[in-house]
């Protein structure tokens, strides 16, 4: 049955180059399921104060390559993401460890009639695994058919400028801004922030969640610097797509143990009668100076 709420639109991919990546399709696994590698450089507008690629950028890249792998696995249908989890290894959040470019491998673990699941393994430049996770997707029949991709798949997204200092950070691209307190963050749903279905890009969800969680734990307005704080673990359940905006994220601090804070986060589409968009549970870890205090 065709899903009439998902019709692919022509979008200007040039203006959406906030996350430069290169994706290569690898030989299929023994079960004939797709395997993709995404390469993510540690460009200065994608890294935190300690020089690590931010978890928001990592989540966005995982959503991108994981969704793509699941989509290729269910052709001629396509997918929307339903859940995303990422967990950064503690060994990669210490001193200078975990810095540098990353490679994310998405291998599809299961592709059925109505859903697909892919494992997401992230490796550093020495091929040491520094993060793990998985993504689930619901299969649908888009009104105008699935996106057309040549196989084996290859895609390189260049940065918006050759000059890294002229490239916006993800939180700036998505216009993440503070709300009434340190537990509230907002963004507006402008055209470049929408995907081909016309809904808020997964990267927008990721960066809004990351910044709201970090600010809630650090006790600063959303968007202010939060040095020595890393979103180390997250599960996101996508409840409905963000179609109108603005979108607000609210954080609830659940509890603290050692260097970790547990945070629950909810996103709502204010312009769509406060429709719930996602529910998420995250861990924010204080590392370095903040972690030892």
């Amino acid at each position: 049955m065709t899903d009439t709420t998902y019709g692919a639109r022509q979008i200007d991919r040039e203006e959406r180059r906030f996350l430069p990546t290169e994706v290569f399709e690898q030989p299929e696994d023994p079960n004939g399921l797709p395997v993709l590698d995404l390469h993510l450089d540690d460009l200065p507008f994608l890294t935190d104060a300690e020089g690590r690629i931010t978890t928001g950028a990592l989540l966005a890249a995982c959503d991108s390559v994981g969704g793509l792998a699941c989509g290729l696995a269910v052709l001629p249908r396509w997918i929307v993401t339903t859940n995303l989890t990422v967990r950064r290894a503690p060994s990669a959040l210490h001193d200078g460890r975990g810095t540098g470019p990353l490679r994310i491998r998405a291998d599809v673990l299961r592709a059925g009639r109505s859903a697909a699941v892919a494992r997401l393994s992230t490796f550093d430049r020495d091929d040491v695994e520094v993060a793990t996770g998985w993504i689930t997707s619901a299969a649908l029949v888009p009104e105008d058919g699935p996106p057309q991709h040549a196989r084996p798949f290859h895609r390189k997204l260049h940065p918006l400028s050759d000059d890294p200092s002229a490239c916006p950070r993800m939180e700036d691209f998505f216009g993440v801004r503070a709300g009434a307190s340190s537990t509230e963050g907002w963004l507006d749903l402008t055209e470049p922030r929408r995907n081909m279905w016309g809904i808020l890009l997964g990267a927008g969800v990721a960066v809004l969640i990351e910044h709201t969680a970090l600010a809630a734990v650090a006790g600063v307005p959303v968007g202010d610097p939060t040095p020595h704080h890393v979103l180390s673990d997250l599960v996101i359940h996508y409840l409905s797509p963000g179609r109108v905006g603005p979108v607000v994220a609210t954080a609830e601090l659940i509890g603290r143990h050692g260097a970790d804070d547990m945070v629950k986060l909810d996103l709502r589409d204010v312009g769509a009668d406060d429709r719930p968009l996602t529910t998420a549970v995250a861990t924010v870890r204080r590392v370095g100076r903040a972690g030892s205090s």
């Binding site: 001193d95 299961r110 695994e129 050692g258 529910t279």
Partner: protein, 277 residues
């Protein structure tokens, strides 16, 4: 499942895993339920906190009941489960509230709060269920009246007290490796390994890795579990592997856990966190 074992006439069979937690449930508003679980040594970690294994089963019980009610007239199967626990929170009982966040045509999403009896935060959880057309052999929750707090399929008054961890029959085969025989006492109504029991295997395999790489007191606090295929053919194995390495401070690690059936088919994939409280 148990190809060596005749299917029980009714579900659950005597001393099934879901009867061993001593859980109570109560329907609150709509399809939102509250569950209670006493924290006894058989369901606690070395620090005395409620274990990931027990919390996985509690979510399966409370969430599964709520989902079954919310999905009527359809039925549900667990697609994924996330459990997040604050380490070393010692409480006498866990109070688990479940709230259905989304009931769609094909999926149902829930969130859970986990607290101690005096409101102490214990953790959080989320689940996704796949909604499918009802078959006739599902657990009959509709004929139960869950109004008012009541035991969830309790053991009889003359039965031996439950020894949850022991009675699951988990075998630790080596660091990070746990196995279980396919028996109806650990299966769901269609004969596949119960999701809560899988959480116990994930807990035990990851924790055993932590005992080797961290300290004997290591405990798993967190898991994201993707149920891929029913685990039907036993013995089933859970194999935990390190991601990266332990933290340089030696107080935590991340692991992946694969649950495989007797033919080596991947049934479940999970990521976990193990800490020294």
């Amino acid at each position: 499942m148990p190809d060596t074992d005749a299917a029980p006439p009714t579900f659950p069979p005597p001393r099934h895993a879901i009867t061993l937690l001593g859980a109570d449930v109560e329907l609150r508003t709509g399809t939102d339920l509250r569950g209670w679980m006493p924290v006894v040594p058989h369901v606690a970690t070395a620090s005395g906190a409620p274990s990931l294994a027990a919390m996985g089963m509690l979510l399966d019980i409370v969430g599964g009941t709520s989902a079954a009610l919310a999905a009527r007239p359809d039925q549900v199967f667990t697609a994924d489960m996330s459990v997040h626990l604050l380490p070393s929170v010692v409480v006498d009982e866990v109070v688990c509230d479940v709230h259905v966040r989304r009931r769609g045509r094909r999926t149902l999403v829930q969130e859970f709060s986990l607290e101690g009896g005096r409101g102490e935060p214990v953790g959080r959880g989320t689940t996704t269920f796949v909604v499918t057309r009802r078959s006739d052999d599902g657990p009959d929750v509709e004929s139960h009246d869950f109004h008012g707090r009541q035991p969830f399929w309790p053991l009889g008054p003359d039965e031996e007290p439950a020894r949850y961890r022991e009675e699951l029959g988990l075998r630790i085969d080596g660091p990070g490796e746990v196995s279980i025989d396919a028996r109806w006492q650990v299966a769901n109504n269609v004969g596949a390994l119960n999701g809560g029991v899988q959480a116990a295997m994930i807990d035990e395999s990851a924790t055993s890795l932590g005992r080797v790489h961290l300290a004997p007191t290591a405990e798993a606090t967190d898991a994201h579990i993707a149920f891929l295929r029913p685990g039907l053919k036993g013995p089933l194995r859970a194999v935990a592997t390190l991601v990266g390495g332990p933290a340089p401070e030696g107080d935590r690690l991340t692991a992946e856990v694969r649950l495989l059936d007797a033919e080596g088919t991947l049934c479940t994939f999970a990521t976990t966190e193990v800490v020294v409280p």
